[in-house]
């Protein structure tokens, strides 16, 4: 008998819901089969903790006296985007201070950026804010220098256009001489290492491969607090090739998420510096998956052996878009410490913290068991494999006539 969201929430409120993590679900389905597991289990919790570059914070300071319409804003010298109404601004995770040397002395260190500002705010630390404006009759003030603290802001929420990538490529380096410095970390020369970045069997969207339960309004765990899916993520690509079990064989679905930073913890929203690349935000995210029927039980029992990722050469193939994957490997192989590429044994480098992913899935499970977290039925599901929605590349069209259209 299929269950509804209402059935499951009633059980959660009565303290009777059976909630397990995606790791625990593997054994349950192996032992009892999907049909029995679907009757017994109500919710499967997932988790992931990894750098998610397409993240940022929407902030509102409240009005100054006299009033000011910020045109430029810096937080700890990191520029924020202020092309919004008066005292709204958005700071992106990867933004750097204007005087950061970048990669001029390669590889650059990228010690501080937007993601670190976000972490500082969440940690409750004061942040130096500088703003400029042009004067208007309604907003006469032109300059501002002040400390701000998350506790003093009207709103501070993460607004992340692309998180929780459903699967991802594995980065290797075919260049025989040179280590490369990428958003997948340092990838060592001549197949010296292979970077991967997914929690695999615990990863949220790998446990609901066709997004049957994930969509606009899905309540989730974000950085230690409660968040929501607000839309499909940028580059959401449900038509990526899939294995027989329905799991995409490369980067596919993504979600845009939002959540109140006041609820979050600075050990789960962490500014990170990718050597020679830039700044990113390592973020903890977990989605509870309702076991509506037998199919959902089967999907949530997916295990590392059954999830494969493409191996990509980041020295040439990826940056210049030449050639294709060097092969596919499973997360079980990636987590064994070595994979085989072109007949060579290549040590693997994880960028995603599996122990943090486990802790998130476990904490979300406890919230639901305690009746503190109810599941939300999406207002609209994400476009799925049958949507025909693909992943476009930019079709560049040079200006003619010196740019006169």
């Amino acid at each position: 008998m299929p269950k509804t969201y209402a059935d499951i929430n009633a059980k959660i409120q009565a303290g009777k819901a059976v909630v397990v993590t995606a790791e625990e679900m593997i054994g349950i389905v192996e032992e009892d089969g999907a049909a029995k597991a679907a009757e017994r289990v109500d919710v499967v919790t997932t988790g992931t903790f990894a750098p998610m570059c397409s993240s940022g914070a929407m902030l509102n300071t409240g009005h100054t006296t006299p009033r000011m319409r910020f045109t430029k804003v810096w937080l700890n010298e990191v520029p924020a985007y202020a092309g919004l109404a008066a005292v709204d601004f958005y700071i992106g995770a990867t933004e750097l201070p204007e005087n950061d040397p970048r990669n001029r002395n390669h590889p650059g260190l990228f010690s501080y950026g937007g993601a670190h500002v976000i972490e500082d705010l969440i940690a409750g630390r004061d942040v130096r804010m500088v703003a400029e404006a042009y004067p208007t009759d309604c907003y006469p003030r032109q300059d501002l220098e002040t400390l701000i603290n998350i506790g003093d802001l009207n709103q501070a929420y993460l607004l992340n256009p692309r998180n929780a990538y459903q699967n991802y490529g594995v980065a290797v380096n075919l260049n025989e001489d040179r280590d490369i410095y990428t958003y997948m970390g340092v990838v060592q020369a001549d197949l010296g290492s292979a970077s991967f970045c997914s929690a695999g069997q615990l990863s949220p969207m790998l446990n609901d491969p066709y997004y049957r339960t994930i969509g606009i309004g899905t309540r989730l765990y974000l950085g230690g607090g409660v968040g929501y899916v607000y839309f499909q993520g940028t580059q959401h690509n449900p038509t990526e090739a899939r294995a027989e079990n329905g799991v995409p064989m490369g980067g596919a679905g993504t979600i845009g998420v939002v959540g109140d930073m006041n609820q979050m913890r600075s050990d789960l929203v962490v500014g990170v510096s990718m050597y020679g690349y830039g700044v990113s935000l390592a973020l903890g995210l977990g989605i509870p998956i309702p076991i509506l029927d037998e199919d959902m039980a089967r999907y949530t029992a997916v295990k590392d052996e059954d999830i494969v990722a493409p191996v990509l050469d980041y020295s040439r193939e990826y940056p210049y878009r030449e050639g294709g994957p060097l092969g596919h490997v499973s997360y079980a192989q990636l987590k064994s410490g070595h994979i085989e590429v072109r007949g060579r044994k290549v040590p693997t480098t994880p960028l995603s913290s599996y122990v943090r992913a486990q802790a998130i899935a476990e904490e979300l499970k406890e919230w639901i068991q305690a009746g503190e977290f109810l599941l939300s039925q999406p207002a609209e599901l994400l476009p799925s494999a049958d949507s025909g929605q693909g992943f476009k590349s930019l079709n560049e069209r040079p200006f003619n006539n010196g740019g006169v259209v």
Binding site: F49, A50, V270, V272, S273, G337, T349, P350, R356
Partner: protein
């Protein structure tokens, strides 16, 4: 027997001289090179542990200094800020001595300071910069 953890700096004019083997023979020392970086036309740097009697070690280091080698004790160590470490594992392959490792069962990332030779390779590679130089 005693041991000394030292950093030896060789000027460019000396890098092709067999200093270490000379010291080892003359003063009956044992040695273990932790890290060496010697490039033509530049200063050579070697981090090593020398073993021998106190008198022999004193004499050997004095001898090397007279030949033009600058010697400093290795006082630096690498520490892990446990509050900052997220246990991702980005550091593990860069570590030449397996002081940083992943427990394949628990997925915990472990740091064994006894295996660390303070080569510093993990310091910039760590995304949350949990690996730090302590002097």
């Amino acid at each position: 027997m005693a041991d000394r953890r030292i950093v030896m700096h060789f000027p460019p004019t000396m890098i092709d001289e067999p200093i270490i083997s000379g010291l080892v023979k003359t003063y009956d020392l044992g040695f273990n090179i932790l890290r060496a970086s010697i490039t033509p036309q530049q200063e050579g740097v070697m981090v090593l542990v020398l073993e021998g009697t106190e008198d022999a070690l004193d004499a050997a280091l004095r001898d090397a200094q007279e030949k033009g080698v600058r010697i400093e004790p290795l006082e630096m160590e690498i520490v892990r800020d446990e509050d900052k470490c997220t246990e991702c594992g980005a550091c593990v392959n860069i570590c030449p001595t397996e002081a940083l490792a992943i427990d394949l069962q628990t997925r915990h990332v472990t740091f064994d300071p006894d295996k660390c030779i303070a080569c510093e390779l993990c310091v910039p590679v760590c995304p949350p910069r949990a690996m730090q130089i302590a002097l």
